[in-house]
Amino acid sequence: MTLRTYVIRRILIAIPTLIAISAITFTIIHLAPGGPFQVFLAMNPRTPGWQIELLRKRYGLDKPILVQYIIWLKMLFSGNLGFSFISGQPVKMMIGSRVINTLKLMITSEIIALITAIPLGVISAVKKNSIIDNFCRVTAFLGVSMPTFWFGLLLIYLFGLGVGPFPKLFPIFGASTIGKTFNSVWEKWADQLWHLALPALTLGLVRMAFITRLTRSSVLDVLNKDFVLTARMKGLKERVVIYKHVLRNALLPVVTTVGLSLGFLLSGAVLTETIFAWPGMGRLSVWCTFTRDYPVIMGITMVVALMVVIFNLITDISYAILDPRIRY
């Protein structure tokens, strides 16, 4: 089948998945003892009566559950994510800029991770059991066992506070310096990057550990294959054998796993955003959990699910492009 058919098929599968997720989300929320609205009211006792009435009408909170679900589903399909219980603001507006911030964090972290991890993984595998290999393996192991949030605190202490012998290199919260005026777009960007540094390093280095291990084991697997022997037999330089023959094959499972684990990266972003007060989705979702602002929580969940579905789609398509066995 052609690439186009493949893509279309994938997209078509994604839609029922999202619908199922909406159903699951809705169900979970409504498992709240007494119903989510009751829980909300219990945690926000000072909600004025008119607001309660408004919310009741908007969400059809008196109607049977199935109807409420259909109402919500219809809203989702028309792009409306609902309105906050607390502020009445459209959820879409609340989430909008935050999604972008989270994506900025994720993309930067992932780039840091990939640029460092893949070469390290390859070297580690090719020079198996050497000092470099052992060092990388130990570091990678420590990296995947390390709690992300603690690592963030560590980085803050080392580079953000200027305490003791450690320099104050980077800011430790927010996405930009408040109150500062910028002379050009470049300055604004530079300021952003400066603020992005520590959070991206936190998320990125921990992710790097994971990808290094992955790359290493994938390369080791490929090195055992016969076609590597064929390549050497032809008289190719070892460097060509590794970078042309081995890498193309070894990266296939790495691409897949990296792509499919982007959801994991998203989880990590929640914690990182909290530590660094980075104005992203993760922080918002935690905040809304405290205030029981259910529409926002549900909206965020759906957006997150959509993001993961899109990531998976991109991964599938990349894999189909890279591996001729899928397409032909």
């Binding site: 022997l229 064929t230 390549a231 032809k234 008289g235 330089k237 591996d323 001729p324």
Partner: protein, 328 residues
């Protein structure tokens, strides 16, 4: 040693006292332990022996494709006036694929799945021949035609998984023969193929050998293949050569008890027998081989001397060598 008087007196490749060991946790595996062998010009030399006797290691050693934990620890391999074991890696690469090439056992994994078949053949051509783009393509198609792949002008664009096992093995042959090597090493080339395909591939190899005027070192455990293809035969056991002769004397008048046992264990369709003959005992460990003659624990003619002293390989008749205390 004197060899069979033949048209070609000067051997193509001379292996002298080759030792290839593997260093593992269990000890030193002496896979090739003092092997001396000659391959003449335009001849097919078959090397036969059970699994684990070291014949594949011998094949890989010639092209210096042995990787750690394996190591060639001693001996000489004289080819074209040079000792291959003393050449630099760069000089060796000029020989690989050009003067000496190899085909391997498993057709499923010997070709790189992400590159087209044509590009993999072309790679060998680019390395060793100075042809321009169009000429290279023509050469690729010509090679595919020579190995009897139908519609080569179309099929060179296909990927390995679009070919059957037998065809992939032929592609391997095309790669190996593309630069007209003097010696083709074939390590169990048909073991993983269906019996009918085996016959096709073998006869193709024989035809090509005669056309290209190259020699073949054919490694296998299958006496039938040996009978069909070889001009001369070397029998290997536990890392050592135990008998060498032209193909007919090996089959009609084997001197070494192991060769004799091998031949006896092939069931003949013309004879009615009650039990299949097998060689009693197990293949000896190459870490701790039996003292004296390595075959003595399984030999029905074993004498006292066999347990103590290793028999040297001597020429018992013109062109027929044997390493056995029975025949001195």
């Amino acid at each position: 040693m004197r060899w069979t008087e033949d048209l070609h007196k000067e051997p193509l490749l001379e292996i002298r006292h080759l030792k290839t060991y593997f260093y593992s946790d269990e000890g030193v595996v002496r896979a090739v332990d003092d092997v001396s062998l000659n391959i003449g010009r335009e001849e097919v030399l078959g090397v036969v022996g059970e699994s684990g006797c070291g014949k594949s290691t011998l094949a890989l050693s010639i092209l210096r494709l042995i990787r750690p934990p394996g190591k060639i620890v001693g001996g000489e391999i004289i080819f074209d006036g040079n000792d291959l074991l003393k050449l630099s890696e760069e000089e060796m690469r000029k020989i690989r694929g050009a003067k000496i090439s190899m085909v391997f056992q498993d057709p499923t994994s010997c070709l790189n799945p992400v590159f087209t078949v044509g590009s993999q053949i072309e790679e060998a051509v680019i390395l060793h021949q100075k042809l321009k783009g169009k000429e290279r393509l023509a050469k690729v198609i010509e090679m595919l035609r020579k190995v009897r792949i139908p519609s080569p002008e179309e099929r060179y664009k296909n990927y390995p998984h679009q070919f059957s096992g037998g065809m992939r093995q032929r592609v391997m042959l095309a790669i190996a023969l593309s630069c007209n090597p003097d010696l083709l090493i074939a390590d169990e080339p048909t073991t993983n193929l269906d019996v009918t395909i085996q016959a096709q591939v073998l006869s193709l190899m024989k035809d090509l050998q005669q056309e290209f005027k190259s020699s073949i070192l054919l490694v296998t455990h299958n006496m039938g293949v040996i009978a069909k293809m070889s001009d001369r035969v070397a029998v290997m056991y536990a890392g050592k050569i135990v008998e060498v002769a032209d193909v007919i004397p090996i089959f009609e008048k084997p001197y070494h008890p192991y060769t004799e046992a091998l031949l006896r264990s092939i069931p003949k369709i013309s004879k009615i027998i009650e039990r299949l003959e097998s060689i009693p005992g197990v293949v000896p460990s190459l870490v701790n081989p039996p003292p004296g003659c390595r075959f003595h624990p399984r030999c029905r003619y074993a004498k006292e001397i066999c347990k103590r002293e290793e028999p040297p390989l001597i020429e018992i008749e013109p062109g027929h060598l044997v390493a056995c205390h029975l025949h001195k």
